[in-house]
Symmetry: C2
């Protein structure tokens, strides 16, 4: 078997492979604060590109950014019963506003500076944003109110994994208020579509979109919508959600308005969010046994140029040639962003440098030595192909076709992810086969199971709970359209009762 | 006296005027969480422009963004003695990670979920970023390490004021590590210059830059540098700071590297930051008795177009004319950003609309009615001039000269602020006159005092403490160059002892 840059490989140990990819690409690391990560520059630059793209999409759909307090008074959390049930058991509680020296000389929370009411570090901001909305909304003329916040949130987690599940994470949370139910539902679905657009066309992740079952929805929501891609271990990732909150939160928080008909009414609200978890999904979907593979549209650098100087009579000439090429490439735009180029002139062995950029997932690597210079050419490798597959391309041709190469790679990543998903998605009419599909072939590789199953379900949450207990499999969504094209009614494969449509079952992150 | 849009006026009650400007421009509001504000869309859009501009500057000087944990373990804070002294007395302390139902049915912190070690919500991140640096830095090849973080921080404040002083605020904090003292000092001063460039050329705020005296520097720093503009009430604003930390933090946190000479050494570090406080400074420096005045380079909208339709035979024609003009203007760029245009077609009285945009500080307002349309002209008002000063400009001329109008206004704001400062800055050789300069003429208007005083000081902190106690006046900085051009040695006006140069004294925010 060929040597790979990442040990272990995906086949050998998928969870450990993931950690090693993150480490090898220098994207993030654990911190001394339990469950909190440090996002390193390469990981953060990817997040900045995700942010900028989504932010443009939110603004293009009429939303404006604002910022609300980090802390939520305990009494606010108590206002919505399901909501508090969902978040109280895993939250960071601020109880004091000062430290003083204790008996042993170390610092302790000052008993004289105890807060009258504990504050919760926001796990999500429905309660504090809703409070502001109750002041901002007076008349139907103030609606719709379309707000987004970029922020950090904290949900105390005991078992964490970089990007995928951390106690503190970065996210955006959209919060909107509307005069009618119809408008709020429309907003909820519109933002789901924005997310799906972003996942498919920017992250190169094919997703299934649909509604969450009652058991899986957001605490306090009427309906939760989700979009779920398949990871390479065939598990689903809940990549983000969009919630139709009905009037639940408006009633808990007095978001009332005087309508055009002269009546006071409660508003209808929505919320929707995606987080740094998207980065985990991007890695799990596209990275390979040599490390990270970045979709070109979001890559912090599109191209890295490696001057090969060890055989050069005048190394500086090679470096100048590379810098000139970089300057020319940086004039180009690719999907609204300037082409980003790294020129790696560090005093390291060429092979080490090359592998470093392979592991960082840069879409295109160029090697340029004296011979290439003489031919006015570059030696090009594309990250989604084998590291050995390199080709010489005339310099001018490379410049002219660069954005096309990037588009090809972007599409190739999507196609590969879609082929993988389609290969591991099956419909079931039989409980036994369904159970077998999700039973790992090998106990040492629990991740190697079937994938996504489509099966009718009667809607009974107890049935879903039993499947979860037996197999660790949940209903990921009730898809808008059946991903295998088999629409229509049927019978629950567990109870035989009628079912309006098939739902998607999978193990998940 | 003319009616003004803001009540009270600056003369009548400056602190209250400030609050009313913020409110009238709809930039921010207090929240139910003590000391924490809500930054509303108009205020946040200004912050986004500040962020984007500074972020570009930081990147152009080689810095990369990253993200570090919100929480700092108590033991980390204890590592640097001066630092802990500075922050322990006003911090938010997290002690529990769960709420449970208490005896009275309300939620209480779960005694079984008490943290072994309390966590502090970061008041600044030297200690947590330094911990990461200690892992990231091994050899001189890893230096310099140039990192910036955009984040929220919390310093518990009892007396707060929107933007200027809040318990939670948004900021950026640069943190860098270097192999030599010289490089670290150079970085500290380079970032000070970046800030000064931003303040003067983007915020239109003339500033005095210099070094903080020992008594005013950052807890744990060797040297703190500052840049301070004068507000309209003649007080100084500490707009931001850049700290040379020497090896203090590197020693407290084991940031060591193997140098080229084979020896292990401690790194030299810096940190530097500006915050949402800048917005408070911008308001206090430029706003007038009619509300906010925005420097064009940072304005969330450069132009607002008000269709005047009440006399129009066909109102839609006027609106179409305005929308077409807006579309044309949005193709233009102004200092790297597209021209932002609002077209206000709301069903409100024209005068109300006009005043709303005056209060929001939009640089250029255009009124367009049927007569203007017939002339193919616009009726233009510039926010830094009297609201009554409007002129008709041919449409084509307006489009061609828009960026020039904006540049003129940007310069006019700077010039006005500089004239104000220069008018209220004086040198003193005499203690009595110095004291009189800072004594309010009228007890009901304590803000009306002299302004900035330049006076020799012997360097004795007790002398500075006495002045602060007597007058509420502090040493704002030891300026690099004397702002009134009177360089050189002299004698302390309080003690008669020798002094190397004059320092800047002022009341401050």
């Amino acid at each position: 078997m060929a040597k790979t840059a990442i040990t272990p490989t995906r086949q050998e140990n998928y969870p450990e492979w993931y950690q090693q990819v993150v480490r090898a690409a220098d994207m993030a690391e654990s911190s001394p604060v339990r469950g909190c990560m440090v996002i390193k520059p390469w990981g953060y630059a990817l997040w900045e590109n995700i942010q900028r793209t989504l932010d443009d999409m939110f603004k293009a759909t009429g939303h404006r950014n604002a910022y609300f307090p980090l802390f939520i008074p305990k009494s606010f959390l108590e206002k919505e019963a399901e909501h508090v049930e969902g978040f109280a058991k895993e939250c960071a509680v601020v109880t004091h506003h000062r430290l003083i020296e204790g008996a042993d000389g170390g610092l302790i929370p000052d008993p004289d500076a105890k807060l009258d009411e504990p504050l919760i570090v926001r796990p999500t901001s429905e309660m504090i944003i809703g409070d502001a909305f109750s002041r901002w909304v007076e008349s139907y003329r103030d609606l719709p109110l379309l707000i987004n916040q970029w922020a950090n949130v904290v949900r105390w987690e005991l078992r964490t994994r970089l990007f995928l599940r951390t106690s503190e994470f970065l996210w955006q949370e959209g919060h909107t208020a509307h005069a009618t139910k119809e408008e709020a539902v429309e907003e909820t679905l519109k933002m789901l579509d924005v997310y799906v657009d972003f996942a498919e066309n920017w992250m190169a992740l094919p997703v299934i979109k649909g509604k969450k079952s009652e058991g899986e929805k957001f605490p306090g929501a009427v309906d939760t919508y989700t979009f779920e891609p398949m990871m390479q271990d065939r598990k689903a990732l809940q990549a983000g959600t969009s919630h139709f909150l009905g009037q639940n939160f408006a009633k808990a928080q007095d978001i009332e308005f005087l309508d055009a008909d002269g009546e006071r009414k409660h508003a209808w609200t929505t919320s929707w969010g995606v987080s740094t978890r998207l980065i985990g999904g991007l890695i799990m979907a596209h990275a390979d046994d040599d490390g990270l593979v970045l979709p070109p549209k979001l890559a912090p650098a599109h191209v890295v140029i490696l001057p090969i100087t060890f055989k050069a009579d005048d190394p500086q000439k090679v470096i100048d040639y590379c810098n000139n090429l970089a300057t020319e490439l940086r004039q180009l735009y690719y999907h609204g962003r300037r082409i980003e180029v790294e020129v790696d002139t560090r005093d390291l062995r060429g092979g080490d440098k090359n592998w470093e950029w392979v592991k960082k997932g840069v879409p295109i690597r160029l090697e340029v030595g004296p011979r290439d210079m003489a031919d006015d050419a570059v030696f090009m490798a594309r990250r989604d192909k084998s590291p050995k597959e390199k080709q010489s391309v005339p310099r001018q041709q490379f410049v002219e076709q660069l954005t096309q190469y990037l588009d090809e790679m972007q599409q190739a990543l999507f196609d590969r992810a879609k082929a993988h998903r389609d290969e591991h998605m099956r419909g079931f009419k039989d409980r036994e086969k369904f159970y077998k599909f999700f039973t790992p072939k090998n106990k040492e590789q629990p991740e190697i199971h079937g994938g996504f199953a489509l099966a009718h379900w009667c809607g009974d949450e107890d049935v879903a709970a039993k499947v979860q207990k037996d197999l660790g499999v949940t209903i990921r969504c009730i898809p808008f359209t059946d991903p295998l094209g088999e629409e229509g009614e049927g019978r629950c494969i567990f109870t035989g009762k009628p079912s309006p449509k098939r739902v998607v079952w999978a193990k998940s992150y």
